[in-house]
Symmetry: C2
Subunit: 349 residues, 2 copies
């Protein structure tokens, strides 16, 4: 898809809970400097703690896109939102949505955008047609976050690792593969919407050849142990050709979310499976760290868990929400600063 114009005005609709507005909170937490303000309708009970402003004021203050940061009940775009959408276009803002329903389903909105030279971004749709993966190595380094389930922190881990690499002065880019990640990055590929034959090809496109010391930090999707989504995960692994893998885990989860018949796999088993899969397209692929959701643990339990994981796997372990991912970023540099330049062009391994 085309890059999304930043900065954003975050639209909260008449959202009544932070859970309903988690996209807006994700933007505030992960690209605060790209969000000039928030805007809500009567009944909105959510506050991001940033300035309130109308679309007109936001545009005057430099905003370039209104981002829908709330999930509408029922999935469709409520009529009560329509005036805000038209007003935003009139004010000169593009409109960005991560909903299943297309923005163009609002009567007249596509014409209004086109007349005003504005863009409607439906980030769940890919305008681009991807090709079949080549399987050929390319220059630059890549890290991919993988997990023991869906929705287990792969996006947050990738964002935290990117931040930590930037703090260390490393050239690194977060590569988004899901809707919220795309809003944060302003670009990316909604991988779950790509036709199956082209998933690995889309992953190759998303993290193209780069300088040999440049890191793409790619947001993982699904899980290899997942009965519905493992195919997407495998295509993403093969196309990314990750030099480095990071496992994301939640020790409180006993089975896959919404799939009670499927237990969370043993960590060693899961990691062996990921490495074996990744080595098809990058024979040097290996784990460099683990992230763990420790929100339910007190400080002694957290410390004990990290120590156990590090002792068992020889890898740094952290909770990126509470601790950042500096440990993993440093391990990454230690591991790879001593290696030669990355593969380039059509070479393999």
């Amino acid at each position: 898809m085309a890059d999304i114009a930043k900065p954003y005005l975050a639209f909260l609709g008449d959202g009544t809970s932070p859970a309903q507005c988690k996209t807006a909170f994700g933007l505030r937490d992960w690209c605060r400097s790209d969000v000039v303000g928030q805007y809500g309708l009567a009944g909105c009970a959510v506050d991001l703690g940033i300035p309130w402003m109308s679309p007109g004021d936001a545009a005057a203050g430099g905003a370039r896109s209104l981002v829908i940061g709330v999930a509408p009940v029922g999935g469709a775009i409520p009529e009560s939102w329509w005036p805000v959408l038209f007003a935003s276009l009139e004010a000169g803002l593009d409109i960005v949505s991560g909903m299943h329903t297309r923005l163009a389903s609002v009567p007249g909105l596509a014409d209004a955008a086109s007349d005003g030279g504005r863009t409607l971004h439906d980030v769940r749709r890919n305008e681009r047609v991807f090709g079949v993966a080549t399987g050929r190595r390319r220059s630059g380094r890549r890290l991919l976050t993988v997990g023991t389930d869906c929705a287990i922190g792969k996006k947050y881990a990738a964002l935290a690792i990117t931040d930590a690499l930037h703090s260390l002065g490393v050239h690194a880019e977060f590569r988004a593969t899901g809707q919220t990640g795309i809003l944060i990055a302003g670009r990316g590929v909604a991988l779950d919407a790509v036709v199956s034959d082209f998933v690995a090809g889309a992953a190759e496109w998303l993290s193209p050849a780069n300088d040999s010391d440049h890191w793409d930090v790619v947001e993982g999707q699904g899980a290899l142990c997942h009965p519905a989504y493992a195919g997407v995960t495998l295509g993403l692994i093969h196309g990314t050709q990750p030099d480095a893998l990071v496992l994301c885990h939640d020790p409180g989860r006993k089975h896959l979310a919404s799939f009670p018949e499927y237990p969370i796999p043993d960590l060693k088993t899961a990691m062996d499976q990921y490495v074996a899969a990744a080595r098809l397209t990058n024979p040097q692929s290996r784990f460099v760290g683990m992230t763990v959701n420790t929100s339910e643990l007190d400080e002694p339990a957290r410390t004990r868990l990290f120590s156990e994981l590090t002792a068992r796997f020889g890898l740094p372990a952290c909770d990126p929400i509470r601790d950042g991912a500096g440990l993993i970023a440093r391990r990454l540099l230690e591991e790879f600063s001593t290696e030669g330049p990355t593969a380039g062009g059509a070479q393999r391994g």
Copy 2:
């Protein structure tokens, strides 16, 4: 997609080589009784060895669909074909195409079909929207053909095994996942066109709950060792939940077709990988046979190869094109006739 109305009239266009008309030959070889005749244009140099007839004569003789059995040079539908397509609709035939180009790209064809109450089938497109896989076991038995590469005989193996099961009086259905397979079966899912999140769900839909002694024989796609298509393969495996796997191999192939950097994997390695993947959703999944392309081998070499494979893996091995698949069908029944009824409803393994 909706079922395709049989029997067929096979359209050869101005095809000059059997390779160009391989879809038509596939139909003749695998559903001969569903093909009433063939029709070609001036310049057609291919002969299926079945009666020549016009669309009108075919319709009068009971045909219900014209199937495009030739691959046009360049991919688009040549203007020289248009009169045949309109004449077929007028004669009361539906039109079926496995081309990338939609039939509706022919000016006026969609309207002509609609006016006459006829259907245009583009078998590479799925009209149906599939859901996310459930991962729950369902009653009935399933066999899936898998391979050491793409285009290595998975469709032919599945068709031959289905035929052999029928000969043994077993209730079995061939389940098509690719365009030619769909033409042969008259139904199926073009798996490579399904959005990635729903591949496993589409595979569940394709081989639904059935009688406990019923076998679905599912056409495999891609290969787990393939850098571009492994994701499709894994989703198909997880959704099919195969009780039985059959490995398709070509001993003359040293690397993946069009991917010279990727060697054909060792058979044992490939089989271990398939079984491990399949056991996520069916913990009893195992191999029951191997098919081998022996077109380049003389009789002593063939016999030696089959013996070696059977000695090494303890599995029947055959070339379905030359020998049929009776060995595999008999092994299937030996293996599974002694087992209890299959899982039903929401139970797991």
